[in-house]
Symmetry: C2
Subunit: 448 residues, 2 copies
């Protein structure tokens, strides 16, 4: 190690998915890592956290590969989903394959299982310690100092580090401290839709009640239900709808009528009693989108993952983008020989704009999932995409493929799509003009 790449003290706030993975990467480089997690150790005590199932794809897989966990998650505990399965109101099914050319899949994984695996992996590194029930009560980002309160023992401790990494999620305490600083741009936007988790048990013969190779969608325009397969052959479903729609379902009768009317095929799979119980056992959850800039303070503090760019879940990129943060941070540590005064600004420089792009894409995809997939224009466009992708598998990558099955920067994903829209627009225009010309020539010939 050169002087600059000396052993750094890295304090990571948050032991969720991104926090635990970040810890592994820093420990792997030989740094001294401490993780401070507010909640209890989920491997010991079950604490309810976020619920939406995870879909693992290329960005996340590459990050897991580096710490030897890709195979475990993808091939042994991930359930491949090869496409969307659209459920119409009359029960008609229509499959939209994600990648009909290269056959890429996204993988349904359990958040809790993945988090446990990452914590176990973290503990295998020497120089890495995990601390649970540690609540961040005060932080001095410029000096790398934190005050923590153990919520069990009520003991307060002071921690000093060369680098504080805030991986403490959408409601990040580290970010709250950044917001007060001059020139820190920040926005939080709630969408006017909430969601409620609905469990779909295995069938009577203990099999999946629907195709397990799909992400199931019941698109209904203003609202939708989705479901992802679990390892135990159940599905975790989520109903997304405007809060007022959810509020209107205020009695078991209203709820059951709504399901009979909108989702008749899935109602018997859930079970009427179970649906009522699940639905009324908790309040609808909110969905927030967070953008900010920059992600760092000097050479001493950084935010990462949801703390930096929480997004609505509709492109299934929250975890994948968070894991990609870790890869990019690691590459910069390599490039700048662990010189944090260069690494952290470079991270903000490259990552802010791309994170803003995926936040926007995630917002857009909600409209696609709940509404556009039903439209003829969408199906036609998807058909064009598939044909062109089949003809030019290396140059014509559809948007979904660039986001899920490539490491193209999210900004480039958007630009690539804009370029494709332009090409298709021009082609349609030329085709139309050509057809008109042919028709006019023949008309002249016939009638002259």
């Amino acid at each position: 190690m050169t002087d600059k790449s000396r052993k750094l003290k890295v304090a990571i706030v948050g032991g969720g998915l991104v926090g635990a993975l970040t810890a592994c990467y820093f420990a792997k480089r030989g740094h001294e890592v401490r993780v401070y997690e507010y909640r209890a150790d989920i491997r010991v005590e079950d604490s309810r956290g976020q619920s939406i199932d995870l879909a693992l794809s290329t960005r996340g897989r590459e990050a897991l590969r580096e710490v030897g966990l890709e195979d475990l998650l993808v091939n042994r505990h991930g359930i491949p989903m090869r496409g969307r399965m659209i459920h119409e109101r009359d029960g008609t099914l229509r499959e939209i394959i994600y990648d009909s050319v290269k056959k890429n899949c996204i993988y349904s994984v359990s958040r809790k299982y993945l988090n446990e695996v990452l914590l176990n992996a973290a503990e295998t590194y020497p120089g890495l310690e995990l601390h649970f029930n540690e609540k961040l009560v005060d932080v001095d980002l410029d000096r790398g100092k934190m005050k923590l309160l153990n919520t069990r023992t009520k003991v307060t401790s002071n921690v000093e580090a060369d680098l504080i990494v805030g991986a403490d999620g959408a409601y990040s305490t580290v970010r709250k401290s950044m917001i007060k600083r001059p020139l820190f741009d920040f926005s939080q936007t709630y969408i006017e839709h909430g969601y409620i988790e609905i469990y779909i048990p295995p069938s009577r013969d203990n099999d999946f009640a629907m195709s397990d190779g799909n992400l199931h969608i019941w698109p209904r325009g203003e609202f939708m239900m989705i479901a992802l397969p679990n390892e135990d052959r159940s599905f975790t479903g989520n109903l997304f709808a405007p809060f007022e729609t959810l509020r209107a379902l205020d009695t078991p009768e209203n709820l059951l009528n709504f399901y009979e009317d909108q989702f008749p095929d899935v109602l018997p799979l859930i079970g009427r009693e179970k649906l009522v119980k699940d639905f009324f056992s908790s309040e609808p959850k909110t969905l927030i989108s967070i953008k900010c800039k920059p992600y760092h303070v000097g050479k001493t503090a950084l935010i990462i993952g949801d703390a930096a760019h929480a997004m609505v879940p509709f492109y299934a990129q929250g975890m994948n983008a968070g894991f990609e943060d870790v890869i990019i941070l690691d590459k910069l540590m390599e490039l700048y020989d662990s010189d944090l005064s260069k690494v952290l600004p470079a991270f903000s420089e490259t990552r802010c704009q791309n994170a803003h792009a995926i936040c926007d894409l995630a917002m857009y995809n909600y409209v696609e999932m709940r509404d556009l997939v039903r439209k003829k224009s969408f199906i036609l466009r998807k058909y064009f995409d598939t044909v062109l992708y089949w003809l030019f598998p290396n140059t014509w990558l559809p948007l979904y493929s660039t986001v899920h099955f490539s490491r193209m920067t999210f900004r480039d994903c958007i630009e690539n799509r804009a370029w494709q829209d332009k090409i298709i627009g021009q082609s349609l225009w030329l085709t139309g003009a050509g057809l008109l010309a042919i028709v006019s020539v023949f008309t002249k010939k016939w009638f002259s």
Copy 2:
């Protein structure tokens, strides 16, 4: 008074311009009003606050009229500015009149003087108390409870109110409490430009060193200087520029060279020594834009003025828009007979979108002031506007007039401008087509 319009306890956080005016309005309706200001009483102790001079126009004037202060501020202590005075680098002057048809002016007023006048006015109402040096340390917005710390006596007190109004400015503590609530949208955006205040003293014969009937602008594309006249015949100038431009002026020599090169006409008016002293006596200040939604919590709390919608100062609407908040709130109190459960949601409903619009307009106007005013296209468009305004003084209101000299909602100001752009675009197109037709007819005639 009906039952609903009973005497309310109103606690106002912040005794700045908007806080003091809000207090007057509530007290005038017979409510019991307490104002809690974090700073000392500016009428007794001079405490430096925000610096940029104020330009009072229609919205602000109307609000002051209701409490009998319009005449004092406009006719006795305001300095009318009839237009922009553009200073070119070679010293050429060009005046752009704000309203050449109805002769409306905007009025330069001193922030400190106006605040003092408002505090004095507030104290004349029975049932209104002003408390200074009171720092808000905790607030329960749902229950209307606050904990305050007197920064002089160190005594803590608890306050309960029917309504808490946060008029505590761009870095509002009341708003910080709202941000934590679900479904509260919020964004803070800093522009990458800062500003430094530069004082321009009266001339040797104790007169204004430049025309006092103008807002002076030195537009230089990426940066600019502006100056507003003061009652003592001085001007308060401000240099706005990217932080890196300001940082590059790191020695007196660099600064003086910069002024000699860019603002040669004003340098002798400021004085070289004075310029160096002013410039290096403080750090460049930042400029923030705040948008959020909603502005209220239940029927117990509200934010108003900069706390709700701080904006960059380039449309001189921060105070005017804040004062208009007070008019609108008062009208809603009247309409709903002081029923806060109706007043507060209605305020958010109408005001959020309009405040977002003026925040956007203020951002746009920075580009207009520092760059567009120099462009031929801008001058041509301004000419069109002036002619059409002269022809149709009641239907063709230029954007600047709708913002400054009307009470048109800010959203309508933007829509009105978009409509005008469309009309002008179509007219130009038709004129062009007409000319082409004439030319082709004559060409045919001549050459056939």
